[in-house]
Assembly symmetry: C2
Homo-oligomer: 107 residues x 2
C-alpha cells in the first residue's frame, strides 16, 4: 500500500457475543465491498481475544461514504443486535509512517 499523506486510518476494535450465525459471510462480504469504495487504500485484520480491523482511506469523506453505504449500514445494525458485545471505532489521521522489511532495509 503506497498512500499519499495525509491519509486516514479507521481502527475498529471489537469483542464478539456467542451468537455468530451469519457473521463470517457478512464479514467477508464487507471486506469485498469496502475494497470497491472510492478512496479505499487497504486493510489489516487480526483477531484473538479482541478483534482489530484497521482500514486505510484517502480522506474523511471516503470514510463517511463507507459508513453510509447501504449494505454496510445493515451489517452495522446486525453487528450491534447480534454479533458484537462491544466495539470501538477510532478515526485517525496518519501523521507519519515508517517500516522495515527483510528484503529492503529500515526506513
Amino acid at each position: 500500500m503506497k498512500a499519499k499523506f495525509p491519509y486516514y486510518a479507521v481502527i475498529f476494535t471489537s469483542r464478539r457475543t456467542e451468537e455468530q450465525a451469519g457473521y463470517a459471510e457478512t464479514s467477508a462480504r464487507m471486506m469485498e465491498l469496502a475494497a470497491r469504495q472510492p478512496g479505499y487504500l487497504g486493510v489489516d485484520h487480526a483477531r484473538e481475544e479482541v478483534g482489530i480491523t484497521v482500514s486505510y482511506w484517502e480522506s474523511l469523506e471516503a470514510i463517511a461514504g463507507w459508513k453510509a453505504q447501504a449494505d454496510h449500514a445493515l451489517a452495522q445494525r446486525n453487528g450491534r443486535e447480534k454479533w458484537y458485545s462491544e466495539y470501538r471505532i477510532r478515526i485517525c489521521r496518519v501523521e507519519k509512517e515508517y517500516g522495515f522489511n527483510r528484503e529492503g532495509s529500515a526506513e
Copy 2:
C-alpha cells in the same frame, strides 16, 4: 480507557520469521514497560497471519519517549535482526471516536 482529545495511536503491524527464541518474554516485558511510560493510555493487540498492536498515547512526545526508551530500543533491534520479517509503524492523531457496548447504548 478515557482519553482527552487530541490523543495519538501507534499502529504497529508485523509479520514474524521462523526464529522466535526470546520473543514472547520480550513482548510481555515491553507491554509492562510501555504501561509505565509517561503519557501511556492503553493498548490493543491481536495476531493471526499478521500481528496488530495499537498503543494509545497522550502526545507525540510520549510516543518519541517510548521509542527512545533503552530496553525498547534494544528490543526493536532484536526485532529487526531476528523476529520480524517485516513491520510497519503508523503514528496517528485520533480525530474522532465512538462505540457501542451491550450494557450501555450506541454513542
